[in-house]
């Protein structure tokens, strides 16, 4: 740990703690999940950066959306996202969450994930390799440092819009709004 790091620890311990313990939801949304095992095992060893898969969203603070998101999956994605404790960060992995990718004209795959939940960063590619995950993680560190990984804050702020978008695609949602007051306000 160099001196620079130490000062950072003293200045903003919370940020540092979040940076170096990014626990990802082990949520296999699409084909991208095939890149996760090499990432966390001996070949690339994500654990040295503090990135490990978490068993449940309750333990996690990083949401890697690994691949296309069908309408049905979106439901689960939203629910999972809302169950994660704040602060939480989302990273769209691969082309599909960004713009639909090869499923751009599918009748059942949503094209832009950030219309429904806030995304802090994207990893483009089809498929991105595990190295790209590390790049994303380092970028996320920078964003956290700069307070720019504020997806959860945006979600809270614009919850009414997010909720409306979700409902537009999914129809009636069976869970109550996460933030009651903002929606009414």
């Amino acid at each position: 740990m160099d001196r620079n790091q130490l000062t950072k620890w003293f200045k903003a311990p919370t940020k540092m703690a979040h940076k170096y313990s990014l626990h990802a939801v082990y949520f296999c949304t699409g084909c991208g999940v095939i890149e996760i095992p090499p990432t966390i095992t001996a070949r690339w060893d994500a654990e040295r950066f503090g990135v490990i898969p978490a068993a449940t969203p309750r333990h996690a603070n990083l949401f890697l959306i690994t691949g296309y998101v069908s309408v049905k999956t979106l439901r689960a994605v939203i629910r999972t996202y809302e169950q994660m404790p704040e602060p939480k960060f989302t990273v769209g992995f691969g082309s599909c969450p960004i713009n639909g990718g090869m499923y751009w004209d599918s009748y059942n795959t949503i094209n832009q994930l950030d219309k429904y939940i806030p995304i802090d960063g994207w990893i483009a590619g089809c498929m991105p390799r595990p190295e790209a995950i590390f790049v994303a993680v380092t970028h996320l560190w920078t964003l956290i440092d700069k307070d720019m990984a504020d997806g959860y804050k945006r979600y809270r702020k614009h919850y009414a819009q997010y909720r409306a978008n979700q409902e537009q695609v999914l129809g009636e949602l069976e869970w109550p709004p996460l933030f009651q007051s903002e929606r009414e306000g």
């Binding site: 313990s21 068993a55 333990h59 603070n61 404790p85």
Partner: protein, 296 residues
Amino acid sequence: MRILWLVLSPLIALAVGLFFLGLSRRVMARIHWRYGPPLYQPLIEIFRYFTQKGSSHGVLFGLGIVLSLAGSIVVILFLPFGGICSMSGSGGMLVVLYMMLLAPLGIALSGGEAANPNASIGISRKLMLALGYELPFLLIVLAIMTHYDTISLVDIVSAQRETASAFASFPLVLSGIAYLLILPAMLGMRPFEVVHAPQEISSGPIAEYSGPYLGLVTIQHALTTFIGISLFVNLVWGGAGNPFVFFLKMLVVLAFGLFVNAAFPRLRVEQAVRYLWRWPTLIAFVGLILVVTLGR
């Protein structure tokens, strides 16, 4: 002085326990041919948990985990740590045995309140597994208590320091071997990791913890590791005269546990209980019979 130790011993235990957690991750990574996280990774994670926003499922949800952790802390106060025992004269080993109940019980209660069946499954596995290792463990503890004719841990430790450690003296060596055989189960390491199986039951009892609650659970895990190992060192390895030697002994025991952990796959709970009730129990039973028949 005693007050000071009362305050210090949980902190030491926490530090050692966290160090053990970090070390074990590191060692496991090395065995996997990985680099592994820094040693202070558990600390970072606990810090992160405490700055996250936890979600509570009810009063008991928080209360249970508090109870569990408090129980572990109290147990630590009763354990001699290299010549230091903060509460030596308040009931001895029996209180320790009982206080060790609080930890799983508290987690079980708060996990139950969370109404997640994964938690319930984990708890049921935990309790069954505990029933499994408790039988040989009790045999071991009783052999030791009978051998030294006391229920006080401090006396057991000092008795071992006077003669040889239990591990090296004849009738107790069997108990010591049996203890080694059940140690992974008591520490919750593989092959007895079925309680927390993260892939199948989403880490079981702790599935619903988030934020500070999860932080407490991690601390609790650290303390439990500490308790398990130090109990072993105290009971069959003669404790130690000073904390440093004690710590070294603990390290050796931990290393043993880690190698077992790395080498084995997970057992189903039936298999685990069957194993625990077969060889360790048999050996511990013979040990107890020897202790009773040979006398001191």
